[in-house]
Symmetry: C2
Subunit: 214 residues, 2 copies
Amino acid sequence: MSNTGLDRRTRRRQETIEEILTAAIELMEADGVASLSLSAVARQLGMQPPSIYQYFPSKMAIYDALFQRGAEYFRNARLAANAAADTEDIRELDVIGVTAFSRWCMENPVYSQLLFWRTVPGFAPSPEAFAPAQAALEDLRQHLQTGVDQGHLRPEAATEEGLALYTSITAGLVSQQLANEPDASFEDGRFVRLLPTVLDMFYQYYAPPRGNKT
Amino acid sequence: MSNTGLDRRTRRRQETIEEILTAAIELMEADGVASLSLSAVARQLGMQPPSIYQYFPSKMAIYDALFQRGAEYFRNARLAANAAADTEDIRELDVIGVTAFSRWCMENPVYSQLLFWRTVPGFAPSPEAFAPAQAALEDLRQHLQTGVDQGHLRPEAATEEGLALYTSITAGLVSQQLANEPDASFEDGRFVRLLPTVLDMFYQYYAPPRGNKT
DNA sequence: AGGAAACCCGAAGACCATTAGGGAAGTCAA
DNA sequence: TTGACTTCCCTAATGGTCTTCGGGTTTCCT
């Protein structure tokens, strides 16, 4: 095996990259997303700050990697919850998916802030990092289209407008929750608790003319 | 007049405080809210950085002053728009008020970020700074109550829940707009354009039983 | 064993916020 | 007018940040 050594080296490399990212997340959870300090990360790994540059070309690259990873986790949270559900009813699936979404957001406020607020000065996600976020949006579009096909929603719900509305009202609740009551649990968050309500609003607003449910 | 001199001195002082705050806003608009640099502010005023400390005890105090000022402007934007309107109909007033609100947000993204996202590491508004924000919320509660009284809304709309829903869906649109299309104009922002729609949703959801409009 | 790549470090440059201490100028009372 | 007090602004210094550079050591492949 001529390449087991190389594999070993790249594996070790991957491990430290992992360590750096998780240390960064931990520090952000403690001190705020925008105050991430490479020196602090290095300290936590028992390194000197310049050594970090062996793994990431800049601080922004770390943010970028976290953005991408966050988007993947985030997308997966919804997909996994829906895959585990034993129903075909889009309305039920929607509640399950949105619940998983918001629970994930509250459990990962750092990722949420990175993904949804983009307030880190000078940081803009690279196309690669943005791809999974785009994919998650595509999932949602698909989902709304199914809702239309099943007769739960008017066709307008699956347009750009419907999508923008859907993301705005759900992300709006999470946004308010994270800004105003960041330490509340998912169960008794004053805002996040209203997610089923806001879904009702959406389905009511886009309700099909009458009596053509499947 | 033994105190004209003192007045003159305090007036000059007030002027530099003003200069500092507007310079801070300008720099934040250019470089991001969290990357405000006292040195840069001082440079813009032709001062040395330590001189700023004659006017504010710390960088956070500047954020705090801006938070308060932002909340006052913000509240006033809505009140002024509603005062200028020549209608008593709460539904119309609502569209006008929400339009004024979101227009203000888009024109003042720095204040908006400070007020609605609170992502500056280590910054939490002081009670004084928070007071006008609270007052604006109170205005809104009042407003919803009037909507109930006029028969446009069910009584549930004027509860804590209704208030949270109202702020979440409106702020949610603005939030998405600022995060995803920060440079769009107010007129063709993909999200902010949906404000009337989202108001419809709200009024439809809280529509009173039937036919008891005034 | 030899050579290359990967890894880590110390030093240094260019920023930053903040504190300490001093000097100049404006203001007021006697 | 003179002396005292306050305000204002400065320089110097401390300790923190990100990042680059250049050298040394370890690790691995051939």
